[in-house]
């Protein structure tokens, strides 16, 4: 699959992406964390996507996973409406502010932000906090 970004053409092996995405979804649904950090690493490292394109596309990938996860939690009665009403405006706002920042920082900085995120998740998995 060929993808254009800012005048550059990237050849992306979608089969590798799908296989890794499949594995990522298994792992993240087993451990109960969103697959976002894994996805961003897959896209930049295994698929060779530029960081800017990877952030948006990664969000799109894990959106599917989040939908099924949300339905499951809702059915099992883990949803608190008031709590949700407090936080979801923050979600909408965060989803608007973040791209404004991302487009103003260089892709190198954006990638380092993701490195920090990956670091946080890995420390969490290792039981540091």
């Amino acid at each position: 699959m060929h993808v254009q970004f800012w005048g550059q053409e990237f050849k992306i092996n979608v089969w590798v992406g799908c296989a890794l995405g499949f594995l990522m979804a298994i792992v993240s649904s087993m451990f109960g964390f969103g697959g976002g950090p894994f996805m961003i690493a897959i896209m930049t490292l295994a698929l060779g996507m530029p960081m800017y394109l990877a952030v948006g596309s990664s969000l799109l990938v894990i959106f599917f996973n989040t939908v099924t996860g949300s339905v499951r939690h809702f059915q099992f009665g883990n949803f608190d409406l008031v709590f949700f009403l407090i936080m979801f405006p923050a979600g909408l706002l965060g989803g608007w502010i973040a791209p404004q920042i991302t487009k103003r920082v260089s892709p190198v900085v954006a990638k380092r932000v993701a490195v920090v995120g990956l670091g946080i998740l890995s420390l969490n998995l290792l039981g540091v906090f």
């Binding site: 948006g56 936080m87 404004q100 890995s122």
Partner: protein, 429 residues
């Protein structure tokens, strides 16, 4: 270390003062206990009764938590257990997919109640402190029923056992898409009690949340306890009951926990939060999360569970749909500046749905803890590789990255000039 000693000192001093206060104002009841002759004179009707358990609390209302002094009398020489239960109820559920040792099958039964107290804590004699500490260090494998037996509190456990529990026979596949399955017949009281203990653990998770060892029992049978009611718990009436065994329990002493704005009560979580804190926390985390192409749930979940007295199930179940909005909004806003490849995203996204169905099935086959460790290290490796991709050495070799960086600098300069304020997104090809 030093700080905790200071707090201990303050606590002890406070307890002592409260005791002085209590004995000064409630002189009559204490006389009643010490001098049965006076009691007989006061009322012949109460004299013949067996040595029952009495209990009093020093405050009838708390303002978003506080420390409560509990005192009372019990038959001499018996351990005293105090149950503090909120009137406010919440839902608790547990999906039982653990291998049954007798039948070798997995039951796939969903246990659910709407009557779990939003706050429940069983306080036992101070002598159990060591055993309780040991239990706390046991990790996530502890069980309520074993703990009650070990701590001698089996007979005192009462309030959650009364919660009516429904059970559903689910199929694994059904549970993945969120179907509860078929409602089964009601359980008998004994089974209900047993399952209520599992639900108690599912709801409160750690031994420190449901057990305390604060009751000081004197040789003459009087007892006292300083009980801390934390911030951010459920509002409404709480009942305090002392028990020495199954049949010998006190009347309930009642106090009220008051919650006021900006604290709001989360009915399903069974706790109250200052509504501004989760909002700003969620905002900060989600900006960070969406910047790195994730939702932010992986940071928000552990933070919320650590900072607030919220159950992890409700946190996970509420953060997930919240993240849905941050992702949705992120996707929309990234698509406006063309930072998104719909083809790649949808193709891989569909493959993740299949993985999401398989994951829960595999959870039964592996021990989670050891794998967490492995994935932690894998992630550290991946993040190191990504960091390397941002190093000058890597960038110098990668022509496409260079071209994008150059383009970025050009656009940034244009944006700084202010001349091309609006063309920026449109020019992205």
């Amino acid at each position: 270390m030093k700080r905790s000693r200071v707090w201990l000192g303050i606590g002890l001093a406070g307890g002592f003062l409260a005791l002085l206060h209590g004995s000064a104002t409630a002189a009559d009841p204490s006389q009643e206990v010490k001098a049965p002759a006076a009691q007989e004179a006061a009322g012949p009707g109460t004299a013949a009764a067996p040595p029952a358990v009495t209990i009093t609390v020093d405050q009838s209302s708390l303002d978003n938590g506080g420390t409560l002094q509990i005192s009372g009398t019990a038959p001499a020489g018996k351990p005293v257990y105090i149950e503090v239960t909120s009137e406010q109820k919440v839902r608790a559920s547990r999906f039982d997919a653990d291998l049954d040792k007798d039948t070798g099958k997995r039951p796939y039964i969903l246990y659910m109640t709407e009557d779990m107290p939003a706050f429940y804590k069983l306080f036992m004699p101070k002598e159990q402190k060591e055993a309780l500490e040991k239990l706390k260090n046991e990790g996530s494998k502890w069980s309520v029923s074993k703990a009650l037996k070990d701590l001698g509190a089996d007979a005192a456990y009462s309030a959650p056992a009364k919660a009516g529990i429904d059970r559903y026979q689910a199929t694994l596949l059904g549970s993945v898409i969120g179907s509860r399955g078929e409602l089964l017949a009601k359980m008998d009281a004994k089974e209900n009690r047993k399952r209520s203990m599992q639900l108690l653990k599912a709801k409160f998770r750690s031994p420190g949340k449901v057990f305390g060892a604060e009751v000081e029992v004197m040789p003459d049978g009087t007892f006292k306890a300083a009980v801390k009611i934390g911030q951010g718990l459920a509002p409404g009436k709480y009942s305090v009951v002392a028990a020495v065994d199954k049949s010998t329990r006190s009347q309930a002493a009642v106090f009220e926990n008051k919650i006021s704005f900006p604290y709001v009560y989360l009915g399903n979580a069974g706790a109250s939060v200052n509504l501004f804190y989760p909002f700003f926390l969620a905002l900060a985390v989600m900006i960070f999360g969406v910047m790195m192409g994730a939702g932010g749930g992986f940071i928000l979940n552990p933070l919320l569970v650590t900072l607030f007295p919220l159950p992890h199930t409700v946190v996970a179940g509420t953060v997930m749909p919240t993240v849905l909005f941050s992702q949705g909004s992120g996707i929309y806003n990234y698509s406006k500046i063309k930072f998104i490849s719909w083809k790649v995203g949808v193709a891989i996204g569909l493959s993740t749905i299949a993985g999401g169905f398989l994951g829960p099935k595999l959870t039964e086959l592996v021990t989670l803890e050891q794998y967490k460790f492995i994935f932690g290290w894998i992630l550290i490796g991946l993040s190191a590789l990504m960091l390397w991709q941002t190093m000058p050495g890597y960038l110098a070799k990668n022509k496409k990255e260079q071209a994008i960086l150059k383009e970025f600098k050009k656009r940034a300069e244009e944006a700084a000039k202010g001349a091309t304020k609006d063309t920026e997104p449109r020019r992205a090809a």
